[in-house]
């Protein structure tokens, strides 16, 4: 984390950006949205030890956030129906820009920045068809819309960029939802989720589909190790008596490795992984399974190594050692050595994702 920080700090100095940097807002390691005890919502900056560094009120329940790599700016996506996103100045607690999804589209709730941090990429879905695209927003022009490319599939959800490369990785979940509620799924019998690697020019560098018996395994969330190994977390839309793998590991140009849970563990998680994290060196991967109240841990080859128990656990992100996790009960925890160590209890209900800055 430290060396990456230093690199980015150098980048910031070179670019001589006028905006505040993360150091000015307490150097949070993570961003996470939560519901407060009074029912309102806010975005928090958190240190690796779980302490608050900032709190920005949000108008509604948040989804994921994206943190600018250098500037103290966060993009908070509205949850449903996802028609807008807010660019927040984390130093002043003000909304800098309100991004509207293009006409007839909505945001999936995830976004990421380009390698040089000058462009925000957002995953967008056409309401009528579910067809996905990646929207471009120019940071230095006040996040003006600057273009889009096809996402390479239906219903893109999380997008990330490969470390050190201008390659956008897209989890095309494959699901078309009803335009009016974003919940009713319309195409389960024909869905074809995929993982796409895209150049910003729109070129498809690689594209992966799972075997036909896993077509109903929606690829939704992503994590990437420093070496470019992509961990993909899935949500099963097929029959409940089948317990498919919910984690895959993939490197561009190779076949994905699918990672099974032991039956007794798989039977608890209801085919649902909520978030995924990969350690920087890729030696361990965690998926959270809030419906089973557990996080499952795998080694870098995708072999199951154990699980930890925590009701409603969902947000997870790499830490200096192991992982940091958040849950709907307000807990912040460290997962290390195959154990869970609580760091802090809050009265908040942490939302699905814990995003590392």
């Amino acid at each position: 984390m430290t060396s990456r920080r230093r690199f980015l700090a150098t980048l910031a100095a070179t670019a001589a950006l006028p905006a505040a940097g993360w150091a000015e807002v307490g150097s949070p390691d993570y961003l996470a949205a939560a519901r407060e005890p009074d029912g309102t919502f806010a975005l928090f900056g958190l240190t690796a030890q779980g302490q608050d560094t900032l709190r920005i009120p949000l108008p509604a329940r948040g989804h994921a956030a994206a943190g600018h790599p250098v500037r103290a700016q966060a993009v908070a996506f509205a949850r449903r129906p996802g028609t807008y996103a807010l660019v927040i100045d984390c130093a002043r607690g003000t909304v800098l820009h309100r991004l509207a999804a293009p006409e007839g589209h909505h945001f999936s709730g995830h976004g990421t920045y380009s390698l040089d941090a000058t462009t925000l990429y957002t995953a967008e879905i056409e309401d009528a068809t579910g067809i996905g695209q990646i929207g471009f927003w120019d940071v230095d022009s006040g996040y003006a819309r600057s273009g889009w490319i096809a996402s390479g599939g239906i219903g893109p959800h999380e997008i990330l960029r490969l470390p050190g490369r201008e390659v956008i990785v897209v989890a095309n979940g494959g699901i078309v939802v009803a335009p009016d509620d974003d919940r009713t799924k319309l195409n389960i019998d024909t869905m074809r989720p995929s993982l796409s690697y895209l150049a910003p020019t729109g070129g498809v560098i690689d594209r992966v589909e799972l075997d036909s018996d896993l077509r109903k395994n929606s690829i939704r969330h992503l994590a990437i190790a420093d070496d470019g190994t992509v961990a993909l977390a899935m949500q099963w839309e097929g029959d409940g008596d089948i317990m498919p793998p919910l984690l895959g590991l993939h490197r561009m140009g190779h076949k994905p490795v699918l990672c099974d849970l032991p039956g007794p563990v798989a039977s608890r998680v209801q085919g649902y992984a909520g978030s995924v994290a990969a350690s920087a060196q890729g030696q361990s991967v965690a998926i959270t399974c809030p419906r089973g109240g557990l996080a499952a841990l795998f080694d870098g080859n995708g072999a199951y190594i154990g699980k930890i128990e925590r009701p409603d656990i969902c947000g997870v992100s790499p830490a200096e050692i192991g992982f940091t996790a958040t849950d709907g009960l307000g807990g912040l925890s460290r997962i290390a050595d195959n154990r869970l160590q609580p760091l802090r209890a809050t009265e908040r209900a942490w939302d699905n994702h814990l995003v590392r800055i």
Binding site: H63, G240, D241
Partner: protein, 329 residues
């Protein structure tokens, strides 16, 4: 595993029905349940030591299974430490790993089982109650001579050791951590709400497990029922497992709700009545439409009990199904 809990001696238990519910669950359900499981597995081990024929061991194996169903839904704390619950109850076994691993062991006559430490390193698929069920009931494992006898003794010893460890850890630390949730120094339960949420989650997921796995797996789909996927069908006790686990969950719900929860009580009663009167010991009737419908009615009643507890008991406890688990993303 140690549960480091620092709490003030003589600290007053927080007033109110909710804390009382947690106390009651610990004292009336959890501690007696684990003591019974520990006793039953110790008896099973002793029997296997005395006479390792399947006929001699089966009654005590059933006693241990009965006792496990009283606590198997408590998927947290000592039961989950070191992967114990998975090793005790490796089911569902979606890939036939238990039969395959046991067969490999028997062919190799692997001496790893000569010591308790060695047995503990076996694949979880080859340990615990369901591996023992195969050895005791499946014709494939009928007669395995001296090694088969040694394996039964090793697995019953291993099972009894896990049960004893769970009971010991509950008695010496974990129960106190749960009772004193949220106290300074309690790094297991950071708030009193967490204690309630953990028990409530165990209740809900226990009901889901009955509906989705114990009943749902043999039901399969209408076009393709899967009776051979029923739990414990070899021992002829699939229905009994449902009855006993429902009874345990009903007891947990009762303990948690010490003010009245009439709708939850009624929903549990209905599910238990249906389970008791089903008369389909291994869910073999799922292969015909009428029989399948009866199992499906029971499944729906179990789901109703879950929904009712969620609506009625959850608010009384000040907890819910979960901010994230209830809302997909």
């Amino acid at each position: 595993m140690k549960y480091a809990v620092a709490f003030t001696i003589g600290l007053a238990i927080a007033a109110g029905s909710v804390a009382a519910g947690v106390e009651q669950a610990i004292d009336d359900q959890i501690l007696p349940g684990y003591a019974a499981f520990s006793d039953a597995t110790a008896a099973l081990r002793q029997t296997a030591m005395n006479d390792c024929t399947a006929a001699a061991i089966r009654p005590d194996w059933n006693g241990a299974m009965d006792a496990w169903l009283g606590v198997g839904h408590l998927r947290f704390g000592p039961a989950e430490a070191e992967g114990r619950a998975t090793a005790i109850a490796f089911w569902p076994d979606t890939r036939g790993a238990t039969a395959r691993t046991l067969a490999d062991l028997l062919i190799a006559r692997d001496p790893v089982i000569d010591t308790p430490e060695g047995t503990a390193t076996l694949s979880v698929a080859a340990r615990g109650l369901y591996a023992l069920e195969l050895l005791l009931y499946d014709p494939q494992f009928d007669d395995n001579g001296a090694y088969g006898c040694a394996l039964l003794r090793a697995l019953t010893t291993d099972l009894a050791a896990m049960a004893a460890s769970i009971e010991d850890e509950w008695q010496n630390g974990y129960a106190d951590a749960l009772r004193h949730a949220g106290d300074p120094g309690n790094d297991v339960f950071l708030s009193e709400r967490e204690a309630r949420q953990t028990l409530f989650t165990a209740l809900l997921t226990g009901l889901e497990f009955i509906a989705d796995q114990r009943l749902g797996r043999p039901m399969g789909t209408f076009e393709r029922p899967r009776p051979a996927r029923a739990e414990s069908w070899r021992a002829g006790r699939s229905q009994r497992n449902v009855i006993l686990s429902l009874r345990a969950l009903s007891g947990l719900a009762d303990a948690l709700a010490d003010s009245g929860t009439p709708r939850t009580d009624a929903a549990f009663s209905r599910a238990m009545d249906l389970a008791d009167t089903l008369d389909d010991p291994v869910f073999g009737a799922v292969v015909d439409p009428t029989g399948r419908l009866r199992v499906e009615v029971l499944q729906q009643a179990v789901r109703d009990a879950r929904e009712t507890a969620l609506m009625e008991l959850g608010p009384a406890l000040g907890v819910s199904a979960g901010f994230n688990s209830a809302d997909g993303d």
